[in-house]
């Protein structure tokens, strides 16, 4: 039986815990662990902020999430309630007007329950 993992990210992009979460997901994927999803909650939703501009010589958190989503099909779920409280909205639609990056799927806490139940292991850093 294949190992399955769900990750819950509650820290913002500038937190080192977020970097650790990205490295954990990357290593898990390389080792053949199936990632059932990453759920972004609390300040973790800020990882989906499209217009966040980080100096080019610093760690580009968003690019790493995009890569995980694009190259390894890691689903990235965003708690919409937590996101809206922090200025992110999907009401602008999934186009250039939205301030949520397209790699992220707008979702709710119900998804957290689903992921928690589906995955053999759940990690929150």
């Amino acid at each position: 039986m294949q190992n399955t993992l769900a990750l819950v990210v509650t820290t913002p992009p500038n937190s080192n815990l977020t970097t650790t979460a990205i490295n954990l997901v990357k290593t898990a994927v390389e080792k053949g662990v199936a990632i059932v999803g990453v759920f972004f909650y609390q300040d973790g939703v800020l990882n989906a902020a499209k217009h966040l501009s980080i100096p080019t010589d610093e760690y580009q958190t968003l690019q790493h999430w995009q890569q995980l989503n694009r190259e390894f099909d890691v689903p990235l779920y965003l708690c919409v309630t937590a996101a809206e409280k922090r200025g992110l909205t999907d009401e602008l639609g999934k186009n250039e007007n939205s301030n949520i990056d397209q790699a992220f799927t707008v979702s709710g806490l119900g998804e957290l329950v689903e992921l928690t139940c589906k995955a053999e292991r759940v990690v929150q850093l």
């Binding site: 509650t10 909650y41 609390q42 806490l109 329950v113 689903e114 139940c117 759940v122």
Partner: protein, 120 residues
């Protein structure tokens, strides 16, 4: 999909951050999906269960009132760390019923009975 037992640990005081409210929101959702969920209060988190708090004095919505809804979602296991209370000179004056005050050892044992632990 397998049913799991969920432990939610609260470690922050109620009104200095949104952690307490967002932990409660998550707990109620797990409850509404009929997942066995327990609440743990540790360190400054114990302030969340202390009675007689006036949130309106600091312009904050009193989410502590929502704790009374826990019973409707069958969240009956509410554990508070005795040592954390003692360290903060707090007495067992709680704003919700059926709180169980546990020693550190009992607290740890209960925690280990759960499949998944979330910390806020």
């Amino acid at each position: 999909m397998a049913d799991k037992t969920i432990a939610i640990i609260n470690t922050q005081a109620p009104f200095s951050s949104a952690d307490g409210k967002e932990a409660l929101d998550a707990a109620l959702i797990f409850g509404s999906y009929e997942q066995a969920t327990s609440l743990f209060f540790l360190a400054d988190g114990v302030f969340q269960v202390i009675g007689g708090q006036n949130a309106s004095a600091i312009e904050i919505k009193n989410y502590l009132k929502t704790f009374s809804a826990l019973a409707f979602y069958d969240i009956d296991n509410i554990y508070v760390c005795q040592q954390s209370l003692t360290e903060r000179d707090l007495t067992a004056n709680f704003h919700i019923d059926n709180v169980q005050v546990l020693t550190s050892e009992e607290f740890s044992q209960r925690l280990h009975q759960h499949n998944v632990i979330y910390r806020f």
